[in-house]
Symmetry: C2
Subunit: 245 residues, 2 copies
């Protein structure tokens, strides 16, 4: 798979993402932003972006912490996330910088862009949508539901899908209810898919390495169902380019 480093500025940081181009033709291709889990741009989001390119999408695996850094220690991760969660504008800036970088690529169809993300990356995708970015779809996998931003759900122009483990201790019934209420008030075309017996990190084959299966656990079946749901939404939203004025 052909891929290349893409550097861009966002939130005052020098970001280093990785772009996977689909085979076959100059495009225009639909584009997908892939936002990583809290540690940063590691193996899992890269593999998912590559998989998307294999299906014909121009996929940008996005940086989170700058310089392509992947944070290893939980204290560092929590400190970095804590700062961001207090300042949603900075999350949006990092996501928006990635969107600009993708749109600047030759062969991408600006009318057919989606954003997806895992865990905190799901929050990034939702924040990008809440910022009013012209994306056709936002998909969060075991995604933070970012209730702080739901007040801005009215700015969402595309469709929203969240795929959640029903037993995810980080995403409670209350979080889900608040998310739902916000989406309802804003009149968004949203979906929530809940998977029974599934916890956080279910899309990531390395989730079990944390040794906390009650919190973080890979689930191949739920991962496959969520992938299929995402592709279904892409079929609805990215399959054909809207006519340009």
């Amino acid at each position: 798979m052909q891929s290349e480093t893409v550097t861009y500025e966002a939130d005052g940081l020098s970001m280093k993402g990785r772009l996977f181009r689909p085979r076959g033709g100059a495009g225009p291709h639909p584009g997908v932003l892939v936002f990583p889990e809290a540690p940063g741009l590691g193996e899992h989001p890269l593999s998912q972006a590559e998989r998307l390119a294999g299906l014909g999408y121009m996929a940008l695996a996005c940086d989170l912490h700058g310089d392509g850094r992947v944070l290893g220690e939980m204290e560092k991760i929590m400190a970095a996330l804590g700062a961001l969660i207090q300042a949603p504008a900075r999350i949006r800036a990092r996501a928006g910088g990635a969107l600009d970088a993708l749109l600047a690529q030759p062969g991408v169809d600006a009318a057919r862009i989606a954003a997806i993300g895992y865990c905190f990356g799901g929050t990034m995708a939702l924040e990008l949508a809440c910022a009013g970015a012209p994306i056709a779809a936002a998909v969060g996998f075991h995604s933070g539901l970012a209730p702080v931003t739901i007040a801005d759900a009215g700015a969402i122009s595309g469709k929203v899908l969240v795929c959640l483990g029903a037993d995810d201790p980080m995403i409670t019934l209350e979080h889900r209810a608040a998310f739902e209420a916000g989406m309802r008030m804003a009149g968004v075309d949203w979906q929530m898919h809940l998977y029974g017996g599934v916890v956080h990190g279910f899309t990531n084959p390395k989730a079990d390495a944390a040794g906390r299966p009650d919190i973080l656990r890979y689930d191949a079946r739920a991962a496959a169902r969520a992938w299929k749901a995402m592709i279904g939404l892409f079929d609805e939203t990215l399959a054909t380019s809207a006519p340009r004025p």
Copy 2:
């Protein structure tokens, strides 16, 4: 599409269902029970059974009230349902009779049976699963979640999917939470797909005829999503026959 009337006894009633056979070969074919909305076996479940047969499933559109009756007046419907809801064993008897009738058909694969249903028919599919019937999947569309039966969720051997309008006034957040808690306690492989901006009856193109769009409204987009989710679950559970001992 080839179809025939199938009569069977259930709950002391003479039932009149309609069987749609797939084209191509003697089978064995996977089988699907299609349980109707509260009024009885009308146009919508018949059309869905026919559609399933077109995809290779042996589909039995099931009777609800006996003699293939379709109740027209709301008082009669509510009286009939009220009696059943007070006696889940009778719901199970009606659903179980349909299962026996399907299993008696030549060319059906007893190891690959699913039950689906709409509205009260969804309740029937879930009750059948809760009765411990050997079905691989139960799917409810804008389905009653039948909290009375969740105590029996431990008897469910197959997978469960419910596809719900998030704004369905008949299926509240509390119903969903109770359903979820029961499924969790029983360790069922369950999914719940919620569609924003969607109310009751969303799969039925005739739903709008009731003139109550706040309660009953067809939604082509949600109907397509739910159909796709069902087929996805069938791909998981009915695609290949389990080895027989």
